[in-house]
């Protein structure tokens, strides 16, 4: 029996209290002499857009790579529901990976494949169903991200925002339980950024996914940061949501939130 199926009851109905969640317990990671992550404790809940924010070099990307298993932590435990990632055997790990969708900073689409083939790739690899069924699923995912009609295009023919949306479509094509987005707004204009944010938010609540977004874009944070953790020099120094972030007295966090002169003046006036 699939260990992730513990989210479902006997009649295959989704049970919210057993939903997929990720728990970090004392995660630490060093590269040589440099401590990149130090004693991180956090819980990421399903159906919410969980955000990891911090300045460049604060350890966000390493934390995300640790969570998806690309980087092995030096200390600490990482639980997907109740199972520790480090204690999973190869079969469990592969099963888990098929429940993970990830949007990379560069979208990481396969250049030699068309948009349709990029989405078909994980389906054909893990769920080889009749061709028509797979194509229907691909068409649905592309429509969901607003890119119907781009099936035959190659990644080189897409704009940055379109690549990100194809990346999201590929991430959700296998109906994941966990969605990781590494700086989904980098290199995009504000309007497209907000569109991507809304898309992530909608998908998260629609499919009850545990979504974790790495970002330092404050627009995104204020738009859809339902649960936020702030990393400063590899340490978690603040946790809250978008309503609390503007009232925080955490100085490094305020430096990030009120980075521009305009916002600093706004803050002074408000206070």
């Amino acid at each position: 029996m699939c260990w992730l199926s513990c989210c479902y009851d006997a009649s295959n109905r989704f049970e919210p209290h057993k939903q997929a969640m990720i728990r970090l317990q004392g995660i630490s990671k060093r590269f040589g002499d440099k401590a990149v992550l130090e004693d991180i404790h956090a819980t990421f809940l399903p159906g919410k857009v969980n955000m990891v924010i911090g300045a460049s070099g604060s350890g966000k990307s390493v934390l995300m790579k640790t969570m998806v298993g690309l980087v092995k932590p030096d200390a600490g435990h990482l639980y997907y529901q109740n199972l520790e990632l480090g204690e999973m055997d190869m079969e469990q790990r592969n099963e888990l990976r098929q429940k993970i969708g990830m949007l990379f900073q560069s979208a990481a689409l396969f250049d030699s494949l068309t948009v349709q083939d990029n989405l078909l790739f994980p389906l054909r690899m893990f769920h080889p169903t009749p061709s028509a069924e797979m194509l229907t699923r691909v068409a649905y995912c592309l429509e969901r991200v607003g890119l119907a009609g781009t099936e035959k295009l190659f990644p080189s023919e897409l704009s940055g925002g379109m690549k990100k949306r194809v990346g999201i479509a590929r991430a959700i094509v296998l109906k994941p339980k966990f969605l990781f987005c590494d700086e989904p707004n980098s290199g995009l204009d504000p309007k497209t950024s907000i569109r991507i944010d809304h898309l992530i938010q909608d998908i998260t609540s629609e499919f009850q996914i545990t979504t974790i977004v790495n970002t330092h874009d404050m627009n995104s944070v204020l738009e859809c940061g339902e649960h936020i953790i702030f990393l400063n020099k590899g340490r978690k120094t603040w946790e809250g949501d978008r309503d609390l972030i503007l009232q925080s007295d955490n100085e490094p966090l305020n430096e990030l939130v009120y980075a521009s002169r305009f916002l600093q003046q706004f803050r002074e006036k408000a206070s």
Binding site: E95, F110, F121, P128, L174
Partner: protein, 263 residues
């Protein structure tokens, strides 16, 4: 520490070099081991293998044939130039061109050419995939990236390079024969007579042993350098250059070792 190393006849520099060698060799062996895991979906792997066979095999026929024809032609002309003694039968030209094509020119020169073409291609393709996070994307999907990306390339090289070497040997002999006839050095009949008089089937076996060994070097070494790229475009270029250099060195070393062992 240095004193201890000195007692074992190691200076810090040599010990560092040895450590570096063992580090890379160990990582190379681990990559090979990871490649041998069971495929997630055999059909997808087979499709990728066929695609690589087409790209590596058909994509290299032109350059291999071009190099081989001139290689055979030049060796025929130079052999005639050196055999000026009247008591030496000119049929020996066919014999020398054929033997040198089968034993050395076909497998070794072709492999050196292919190290430049296929080796750099594999290293830069994998390097770019690594730097653009495509390999990470595969891994997160649950695909074994080494098996899916390196495995088909190695199978394609191990099957197509021997075929390319056979093509090269044939074209080289043909090139020598045509050049001899066109320039009036010797006739087709004389060339063929010489070629048949000294032909040994074992030589073809030896050439195939070399081709398979060199194919393994080209595919695995260049894949290793490409797969472990860290950084951006500059590192991808460096990995590609390194892959070609190491492949060429290994081909030449392997050429000597195989000649010593099998001849």
């Amino acid at each position: 520490m240095d004193t201890i190393l000195f007692h074992f006849g190691l200076t810090p520099t040599t010990s560092l070099l040895r450590m570096t060698f063992f580090y890379h060799f160990g990582r190379y062996l681990m990559m090979m081991r990871q490649m041998l895991r069971r495929p997630e979906n055999g059909r997808m792997y087979w499709e990728e293998t066929v695609r690589q066979m087409s790209s590596i095999g058909l994509g290299s026929v032109g350059i291999v044939a071009f190099v081989a024809v001139f290689m055979g032609g030049v060796s025929a002309v130079q052999t005639v130039y050196q055999l000026v003694a009247p008591y030496i039968s000119l049929t020996v030209v066919g014999s020398i061109v054929t033997n040198s094509s089968i034993l050395e020119l076909g497998p070794t020169i072709t492999s050196l050419v292919l190290a430049g073409k296929i080796g750099s291609n594999i290293a830069s393709e994998l390097g770019y995939m690594r730097s653009s996070e495509q390999i990470d994307a595969l891994e997160i999907m649950g695909v074994n990236p080494v098996a899916y990306l390196v495995g088909p390339k190695m199978v394609a090289c191990l099957t197509m390079i021997p075929l390319l070497v056979i093509t090269s040997i044939s074209m080289s002999i043909l090139g020598g024969m045509v050049i001899c006839q066109l320039t009036g050095l010797i006739t087709y009949d004389q060339f063929i007579e010489g070629a048949r008089s000294s032909f040994l089937a074992y030589d073809v076996f030896f050439a195939m042993c070399k081709a398979v060994t060199f194919a393994f070097f080209i595919s695995s070494v260049s894949a290793y350098h490409g797969y472990h790229v860290q950084g951006g475009a500059l590192e991808v270029g460096r990995a590609s250059t390194k892959a070609v250099v190491y492949c060429c060195v290994l081909i030449l070393l392997g050429d000597y070792v195989l000649a010593q062992l099998l001849l």
